[in-house]
């Protein structure tokens, strides 16, 4: 083994994975289709990044630059403006750049291509098909990189963090943000963003509401806002018209997996690529990290996760991966949206780090990890919300690898 690790995507995850793979002794090539390292962080000019990773509150570009400086000063082979076109089962990577195309045969790959925004197609709005409907990430890119304000009277659908951040940003830049509608009866963004992005500017948040219609022949002229019932379906007769020229969609991110589709990797019930506790997918040698694995709200967690994937990929590439022993499956039980990892190896690290989110907000409850009848860990939670990712470490010696029983986590009262 020559120890070649290839990294697909140069955002926070890709950079952190590359640095840790290099440190673990691998020869590292990082591919980024954009002309700069940093990924989505470069357009997130607000602060609130880095508190745990760099022990300092940074803006997105500052966080990106700190990692990018380390990458630049290292022996990592950075290929900017280079898009990966395909990944083979033999871990070969086909790439294309203005200088030409080529193939690289890697001994291990870390896939860190980030996420994709759900767009208008995902909600299929009835009515006209006017211009003036765009995603929060697009609005953020146009405004923060080019100074283009997408409209004057703006309505936002979805209370995810990007939508909240954009509500504030658009307001500060002189647009009137008329409101934010959220389908769920609770907000989907972090509490600090509700306070500092909406309440600070008296922007109304309509919980249990959705946009049911778009009006306008050429440009958007109005939307219809309706209340939804407990089944999340609009309640007939509750619709009201709100005049606006722009609708910003902040209805969620999805891992960007198109390149992986031909590989037929195993997925979990939430549609994420299933990985073991070393973050390796069902294709030996292909590791996952960052938003491509599951959508994160804090970049600090992205970087930590990617360090694990990078280190494990290096071990694999160098032929140093611990092998042998059995594997256990793990799954998300009642009240849990998803659970990563989906497989736990008897060999390797001594502890498993579980990452998951609850389905709905809960107060005064317990998180219970079990294997069959045996309770492995029970954690009291004063409060738990879907917009904050949960992390729980469990020593592998508590698990019984001689049985096939699945590990499960659930929410109990």
């Amino acid at each position: 083994m020559s120890g070649k690790v290839a990294i697909v995507g140069g955002g926070a995850a890709g950079m952190a994975a590359a640095l840790s793979a290099l440190q673990a002794g691998a020869e590292v090539t990082l591919f980024e289709k954009g002309s700069a390292l940093g990924g989505i962080l470069n357009q997130c000019i607000h602060n609130g990044f880095g508190l745990s990773y760099f022990k300092e509150e940074l803006t997105g570009p500052e966080f990106a630059e700190r990692l990018a400086d380390k990458v630049r000063d290292s022996a990592i082979d950075v290929r900017l403006d280079t898009a990966i076109l395909s990944i083979g089962k033999d871990l070969s990577i086909a790439y294309e750049s203005p200088k030409g195309s080529g193939t690289l045969r890697a001994d291990a790959i870390v896939y860190t291509a980030g996420s994709l925004e759900r767009s208008a197609g995902a909600i299929a709005l009835p009515g006209d098909r006017p211009s003036g409907i765009l995603t929060a990430g697009q609005a953020q890119l146009y405004l923060n990189h080019y100074g283009y304000l997408p409209g004057k009277k703006i309505f936002i659908l979805g209370s995810g963090d990007i939508g909240l951040i954009m509500a504030r940003r658009l307001t500060l830049e002189g647009a009137k943000v008329l409101g934010v509608a959220e389908l769920c009866p609770y907000p989907n963004g972090l509490n600090r963003n509700i306070v500092q992005c909406l309440e600070d500017y008296d922007i109304p948040l309509y919980l249990s509401h959705t946009v049911t219609r778009a009006y306008g022949k050429g440009r958007l002229t109005a939307i219809e806002l309706s209340e939804v019932g407990p089944d999340r379906n609009p309640i007939p007769g509750t619709g009201r018209r709100i005049e606006c020229d722009t609708l910003v969609l902040s209805i969620g991110l999805l891992p960007l997996l198109s390149l992986l589709r031909p590989l037929g990797l195993r997925k979990n019930l939430a549609g994420q690529i299933e990985v073991d506790d070393s973050l390796m997918s069902s294709l030996p040698g292909l590791f996952m990290a960052g938003n491509a694995l599951h959508v994160h709200d804090l970049v600090d967690n992205v970087a930590l996760e990617a360090e694990t994937a990078g280190r494990e990929a290096a071990r694999m590439a160098l032929g140093e991966r611990a092998s042998g022993g059995k594997e256990l499956l793990s799954k998300a039980g009642d009240g849990i949206g998803y659970l990563i990892p989906g497989r736990i190896r008897e060999s390797g690290e001594e502890e498993v780090l579980f990452r998951f989110r609850v389905r709905v907000p809960n107060k005064d409850c317990f998180l219970v990890f079990s294997q069959g009848d045996k309770i492995l860990k029970k954690i009291k939670k004063m409060s738990i919300i879907p917009s904050e990712m949960e992390f729980v470490k469990i020593p592998k010696k508590l698990l019984d690898f001689s049985q096939k029983t699945t590990i499960e986590v659930k929410l109990c009262h």
């Binding site: 000019i45 803006t59 570009p61 100074g147 830049e173 509490n191 509700i194 004063m382 409060s383 738990i384």
Partner: protein, 121 residues
């Protein structure tokens, strides 16, 4: 005694605080951090302001900026007006001070948050 209700944002629990606007007495906080938050938020709320300024000779037309420390919440729009007047030229390094004592607030600077090389000629 005028009371103000606000949600504590120091942790995900999100306690509903009631703060007396005169005595700054805080109720409803589960832990001491909520008391500190409630007092500050009612007496002198502050925020870091982030935005962009025009930049010449860089790969993008805008350079992101921030205030080096929080400024009074009431001055955010005034800050945006002042930022609109600023224009710089590449090269610039993250951390470079673009305006000293921003809005006349001593010790608070407007700083660049991204580095740009000078492009072409």
């Amino acid at each position: 005694m005028p009371l103000r209700e606000l949600v504590c944002i120091r942790c995900p629990r999100g306690c509903l605080l009631t703060v007396d606007e005169e005595t700054l007495e805080v109720k409803g906080n589960f832990c001491p951090r909520g008391k500190d938050y409630g007092m500050k938020e009612v007496s002198a709320p502050e925020r870091i302001l982030t935005s962009t300024v025009a930049i010449k000779g860089a790969s993008l037309p805008l350079c992101p900026v921030k205030t080096s420390a929080p400024i009074p919440k009431g001055k955010l729009f005034e800050g945006m007006k002042a930022i609109a007047e600023v224009s710089i030229a590449a090269p610039v390094a993250a951390g470079d001070v673009l305006v000293k004592d921003f809005l006349g607030i001593e010790g608070v600077d407007l700083v660049a948050t991204r580095s740009f090389k000078k492009e072409g000629n």
